[in-house]
Amino acid sequence: MLELADLIFIMLGISALLSVPATILAVISRDLLKALIFSALQSTMYTLMFFLLMAPDIVLVYIAVSIGFMSLLIILIIKKVGRYERY
């Protein structure tokens, strides 16, 4: 019989496991825009983990900062510098 605390821990484990391939794809991807999108996906998984760990104030800051604002700034600098990594 699954209790509610078990369900919370299972959701924590699933979101932590889904953040690992997002991190791997963000590091090994040659296209910098794809790397940024995978980084935002990993940030989304971390946001779900923050919410499940009973820290809703950090969720409110972290969504705006790490998914919105950093993605905007890195898109701007990718537009200036060039999209593709050389090797």
Partner: protein
Amino acid sequence: MGSEIQIAMYMTVILSLYINISICMYGVISKPNLIKKLISLTILQDSINMFLILIGYRLWRPGIVLQPPVLLDWSPTSEVLKQFLERAVDPLPQALVLTAIVIGLAVNIFLITVILHTYRHFGTVDMDEIGRLKRVVIVEETA
């Protein structure tokens, strides 16, 4: 049965965070592109913050119903306060992480500015190219 699932999932979370930290350290050290280094560094910061939040988490005791960690009445008795302290999480790591996220935002904006000026000076953001160009400049100045 329930506690075994909880312990297994907790160890899964800690192992995933360690794997994330190791992958991001590989990305910071081994990738020559400066923007890729910056993206890896932001993921590294978030993983460390997640460890800090995970320290302050407190599991509910069995028998306590799931409620938000706030006080629901204006004049709480000592019994209500005792139950509240038993089910509330630790707020100190959350305050630390909230400060660390904002400081990390400022540091990341500074790093983006440094990368932009490096690109305007050298014409590239590849670390190997920058090292070669700096060597050429030094040879030209000394000759």
